[in-house]
């Protein structure tokens, strides 16, 4: 008997017990769909974070205040202290003291409500200097970016991110229009080009949902409270990726010196690189993926046990059929193959439906939970192979039982 006939017999076996086969397939289906969604969630999350971090610019280090350790050994939270000043920014910009640093941008930022006519938008307003554009690796789509004169003169000007611009000005050219922030009218001088990495739906992480103003204007007229000289973060760009370590050391050394700190363990600032951010996030996402994937894998094993269970029931129930087939000339090998094919068909059908369900979930879930899920063809193909393997693996034992049944015992049973 050839494989085609065996396959046909196996498929008929599955089809003659529709409900039972469907329920068995369901176990595999859920497991496979779970694996695909779990892997997609993991990859989607890390992809999003990576693109957000990359959107910060290339070869960039970010210095944030805080992480100072008090004499009692309690470490302050990131950003909890405003220890960075405009003086730090100017020191870091020195090509003599910090030769590996190409550009420095001090940033003060806060969430503010922007008003243009009847439209309002809440966004992150960043006060900074012209070098921000280079450091962040951004370009201007319309108009111009801030210049040194704006900063020097505390000019009431603003450059909008693409998302913010389209929210405030649904029609017409934003450049030349006026935007009110905290009662201060600002003239729009430019609009940034889209960063191309706007995968997120939340405004706090969308690099295109922002408004850039001169740092002096921000400190003086927009942001209330804190010291006029403080900045909330400093972004520095190394000359090349090879100079990143040098830039890090220079920044660390300079800031420790400026802040009069002798022991680097007492530093009142933290320098983070994109690589370290990506690594930290990736490891979190990795853990998440392993956790979700693990749960999905367990459900797959449960599904596989379901296949084995149903195949054992099937063998017991079909003892007469097996006996008859043997009497008519089916060899043990042919019987084994028939039951293996039945188990594999259950696994494969479960896998196929699981891939479909998983892909549907990947399309539908992001709208529900607000997180991107990526579709991975590798995961889909891998899941199919796993489903088939589970069918075969958990079908071997029942199939062998069927194959070794003595024909007379099989025929005798009532």
């Amino acid at each position: 008997m050839n494989w085609l006939e065996t396959f046909r017999t196996g498929v008929n076996g599955v089809r003659s017990h529709r409900l039972r086969s469907f329920l068995t397939v369901l176990g595999i289906l859920i497991g496979i769909a779970g694996v695909i969604i779990a892997v997609g969630l993991g990859e989607g999350a890390s992809g999003q974070v990576t693109s957000e971090i990359n959107a910060l610019g290339s070869n960039v280090l970010t210095i944030t205040p805080g992480a100072s350790t008090s004499s009692t050994g309690v470490r302050g939270a990131l950003g909890s202290a405003s220890t960075l000043t405009t003086a730090d920014v100017s020191a870091l910009a020195s090509p003599v003291d910090a030769p590996d640093i190409k550009a420095v941008a001090g940033i003060t930022s806060d969430s503010e409500v922007l008003t243009a006519g009847s439209e309002t938008a809440t966004t992150t307003v960043q006060g900074t200097t012209p070098s921000w554009l280079t450091v962040r690796g951004r370009t201007v789509a319309e108009g111009r970016f801030l210049d040194n004169q704006d900063v020097k003169d505390h000019d009431a000007v603003v450059v909008l991110g693409e998302t913010t611009a389209s929210e405030l000005f649904t029609r017409g050219d934003p450049v030349g229009q006026t935007v009110d922030v905290n009662g201060v009218p600002l003239t729009v001088v430019g609009v940034l080009t889209s960063s191309g990495s706007s995968t997120s739906t939340s405004s706090t992480t969308d690099p295109d949902d922002t408004a850039i103003i001169p740092i002096t204007t921000g400190q003086e007229r927009i942001f209330g409270g804190t010291s006029r000289n403080s900045v909330s973060s400093i972004a520095i760009q190394a000359r090349s990726s090879a100079d990143l370590t040098g830039a890090y050391q220079e920044a660390d050394h300079l800031l420790l010196q400026l802040h009069g700190i002798t022991d680097s363990a007492d530093a009142d600032f933290t320098i983070t690189s994109q690589a370290s951010l990506i690594a930290a996030n990736t490891s979190v996402d990795h853990t998440l993926t392993i956790l979700l994937g693990g749960i999905a894998a367990i459900s797959l094993i449960v599904g596989g046990i379901g296949v084995m269970n149903i195949m054992l029931v099937s063998v017991t129930e079909r003892v007469r059929e097996i006996g008859l087939r043997k009497a008519l000339g089916a060899t043990p090998r042919v019987i084994r193959r028939q039951f293996l094919v039945e188990a594999s068909v259950l696994g494969l059908v479960g896998g196929l439906l699981g891939v479909v369900a998983g892909l549907l979930g990947v399309l539908w879930l992001p709208g529900l939970i607000g997180d991107p899920i990526s579709t991975s063809p590798t995961a889909a193909v891998g899941a199919l192979v796993i489903a088939l393997a589970i069918g075969v693996l958990f079908g071997v034992y029942p199939a062998s039982r069927a194959a070794t049944l003595a024909p007379i015992d099989a025929l005798r049973s009532e």
Partner: protein
């Protein structure tokens, strides 16, 4: 009984069944039961033989050995000249497929398959091409008078029709031996008569038939009657036949 007897003369041509002092001992734990205690039987081509005996006589065991569903504990069995007494399970499956057509008391049709699919089943295992299988299955069903029922499933057929499908399945491979085990046991008298008439027709067309039964009326349809009692054959023993009537 446990000694292996010397094998007799080599089987003659045209001898379909040659049993030589066949024994079958079943062991359950320390207890061993001899179901066959040295059975010798020779059946030539074209014979119609009934093997008759009450339950517990060793009749089923003999049927299993004749049908190559089981192997003897000792003794020799040649089927159509081939020694089948020491074959592996796989080899026996091939012998059954090629040489034997079975008709069972419970019909043993597969319920999910139509009549012609049931009839083609032994040819599937023999590797006969699809188109030829279907054609031969149709012919066999025509021969048992079921040409109009080929697409029906067993559940849609009467008992007598189901048994005729089983007969079609037994003869479709042109086997050396058709082995019928109580073929009328589950049938009403009219259907039973139909099936026996069919068997007689097969006999007339030159087939070798062995019919196993406990019913002397059924046995009387055969040309030769062999009795079995306590694991031994009693051929042409009129008194025995009378006694179990």
């Amino acid at each position: 009984m446990t000694l292996t007897p010397p094998l007799g003369t080599p089987p003659v041509r045209d001898t379909v069944i040659q049993l030589e002092r066949v024994t079958k001992v079943y062991r359950t734990g320390t207890l061993s039961v001899a179901a066959l205690r040295g059975v010798s039987l020779s059946i030539t081509e074209g014979e119609y033989v009934a093997i008759i005996g009450p339950s517990g006589s060793g009749k089923s065991t003999l049927m299993h050995i004749l049908g190559c569903l089981d192997v003897p504990s000792s003794g020799g069995y040649h089927l159509a000249g081939e020694d089948v007494s020491h074959m592996s399970e796989t080899a026996l499956a091939e012998v059954r497929n090629r040489r034997i057509g079975f008709v069972f008391q419970q019909f043993n049709l597969l319920p999910s398959m139509t009549a012609w699919q049931n009839v083609e089943l032994p040819m599937v295992y023999a590797g006969v091409p699809r188109a030829e299988r279907k054609e031969r299955a149709m012919q066999a069903l025509g021969r048992v008078g079921l040409a109009g029922r080929v697409g029906h499933r067993p559940g849609e057929l009467s008992g007598g029709q189901q048994q005729r499908v089983a007969v079609a399945r037994a003869l479709v491979t042109e086997p050396d031996l058709i082995l019928a085990d109580e073929p009328t046991g589950n049938l009403d008298s009219k259907s039973a008569a139909d099936v026996l008439r069919l068997m007689a027709e097969l006999h007339e067309s030159g087939r070798t038939l062995v019919l196993i039964t406990h019913d002397t009326d059924v046995a009387s349809a055969a040309g030769r009657v062999v009795g079995i009692r306590d694991g031994l054959l009693t051929e042409n023993d009129r008194r025995y036949l009378e006694s179990i009537r």
